[in-house]
Amino acid sequence: MKLDSKIPAGRLEEKWRNYQLKSQLINPANKKKLNVIVVGSGLSGAGAASTLAELGYDVQCFCYQDSARRAHSVAAQGGINAAKNYQHDGDSVYRMFYDTLKGGDFRSREANVYRLAELSAPLIDHFVQQGVPFAREYGGVLVNRSFGGVQVQRTFYARGQTGQQLLLAAYSQLYKMIRAKKVKMFPRSEMMDLVVIDGKAKGIIVRDLVTGELKRYAADAVVLATGGYSRVFRLSTLAIGCNGSAIWKAHKRGAYFAAPSFTQIHPTALPQSSEAQSKLTLMSESLRNDGRIWVPSQKDDTRKANDIPEEERDYYLERRYPSFGNLAPRDIASRAAKERIDAGYGVGRLKNAVYLDFKHAIERLGLDTIKDRYGNLFNMYMKITGIDAYKEPMQISPAAHFSMGGLWVDYELMTTIPGLYAVGECNFSDHGANRLGANSLLQASVDGYFILPNTINNYLASTLQDQHADINHPAFDKVENEVSAHLQRIINVDGTKTVDHYHRELGKIMWNECAMSRNKVGLEDAINKIIKLKEEFWNDVKITGSVSGLNTELEKAYRLADFIEMGILMCADALQREESCGAHFREEYQTDEGEAVRVDDQYSFVSAWDYNNGDFKLFKEQLEFENVQPTVRSYK
């Protein structure tokens, strides 16, 4: 199958406009008859569901949490980027486009990235109108701060809770449409599989997490907005429930999976402190605006941070990357931290952390300003670690965070299955091999609010003549039976080890071999280990309770079963990409100074994998750079 990204013709600045001018429209009377399923209620899901409903479609929205308001967009802290140029510091749509493309190490589509930057400004307008209390100057205008990988101030924020405020706005808008009876909301409902009829996505099988019942839902199009899959590492900044099952099931039904190995390791999370740990809490990247990162310049320094004099501190980011310093992009900052920790300069009880110090910022700006900017983050740090970060530096460490990879989508955000769309983090679209800070909320929102509602009609218009899918169609029987058998099979194993045991094992393999730095031998070894782990899982996992009723162990188990399979594909993808780019750092491809070496002539493509009955097959979408010349990405 040839991958057609459907990039519209015309100059970069005109592509989106041209697309909108030419795409098909559906008259309001017909929209009422069309039904769209949205899986996920985060920024992209709730944004898409509410906007589609406003346009007149009938929408059914599903989430596994107890309420749409819990979706993990809620946890994004630092902010959302937009090319408003309110700070008059030389920002523009083009510069934002360029920063994002470069930040992603030239592994994303020009047209998509440009559209992202272009739609960022109206998005801020939208959220302000929806009542998001963004930070303001005394005079009443919006404030900006800077974020990693960028030299202008274009990040809008609401304290350290920007994601929460945007999500709550989206959730409110969603409930407005629920009240209008245009959206039907199904909380505590998890998508178990996709139903494809005559090659088109026509419905989903859902498990009611309270009763355990499997239910069928049919629609004219299905939108996946199910977020990232970094829980494959087990320890990550993601919510415990975040999973890749929906996209993995879609992948197995024919949707190509793009760049699965592009997962971002965030440089500023709290370090792991014990084996039993379930989660690595993120400390917003915005802290790097004012905080300085350092390690002692002596190995195994046992002194307390405050006892180490200034001249014996190694501000390694400022040393290695003088022009961006502490605001180097995430992949670079994470790798630099890993380099110091591996070399024996790590701090903390397990020597797995580096310091993030606010002493100078407090001296310069005063305690009140720091409290105003980051107060809630410092409080959070205090609650979790019991340490007062106003008095001594925070200890931070890299942690698995965002997945740039996801279902392959074209310019319309449609996957390779007609009628199946992927929006937000679960698609591969705009971030290339590395996402810039504060672009995640942006992409999720733009996808959901602005892009999908403008592209889905192009497909739906063509289905007007089709019969509406019926849940009694044999395809639904078949898929439901498969899901049911799959669940029963997990219960029936009745082995000796817990689901968490296998998740910890998978996490270790993935973290060691497929995280911040990768190599051929390690990846090949990892694939073998995961295949073995998969076998062990299916022979020896133990779950109590039954398929019916609320069973949290069963939920964990079927999500993990998919993560295990996904882990294999992630390693396979990392193995085939013999270059270093963005978050994907292959040890074989680095300079003497340890910087990444990209191989543009061979790897300037998006890898898109066909499931192919478990024997993954690679397709390549060649990236064309017409406006920008890919350069060596330097932040020195």
């Binding site: 993990h72 801020i124 303001r136 808008q173 900044t237 919510a239 989660k279 993120l282 959070m380």
Partner: protein, 247 residues
Amino acid sequence: MKVTFKIWRQESPDAKGTFRAYQVDDLTEDMSFLEALDHLNELLVLKGEEVIAYEYDCREGICGQCGVFINGRAHGPHNNMTTCQLHMRSFKDGDTIVVEPWRAASFPIIKDLIVDRCAFDRIIEKGAYISAKTGTAPEANAIPIPKSVADAAMDTAACIGCGACVATCKNSSAALFTAAKINHLNKLPQGKAEQHQRVKEMTWQMHEEGFGSCTFTGACEVECPEEISITNIAEMNARFIKSKIFG
């Protein structure tokens, strides 16, 4: 460290619940409270028993999904903290820790420690939004909002909807939750157009859901993870009266 958990077990909404004691020997102070329960659940699986059902998601204090009554306090012994942020270092070796679900008529128990908080969503549905469609927004800086107003709106918008306020309130009043949302939107210029309708309809839904009256015990603001002030309830009362006069 070694502790004994006394945990409320209840098979289904209508079943009779009871406390069961579980001793766990190999916990560490670094573990979060929920990780200790995770560990207990693993032990239960290995023993062939059904696991304890409890809720969580983000485990960093922002999603609001976790929440149980621990040793007589909503979200545990500390003020202004979520259950997921509670760590075992807050307990002593040998302690008995009593764990109960949120108790309120409007939060029926689903299983064990899990309750149904959809009543909150239904309150939101009755007006916690600004009726403007996607694509209709004017330029963001067109309406200046003084920092003090934006900050005050943010203070209340921070609510995570965990339900600790209702859980700890002897009257199961949802006044703090409802007030937080009303005050957030009604303070902002964008929210003014629908302000009176919003107050009337959201508070009416709060009544319909069966929540109790606020008697200002102040427990809610102590347990609220986002430190939302009880003054908000007084402000909501003022807005309510205003809506009756001007709305």
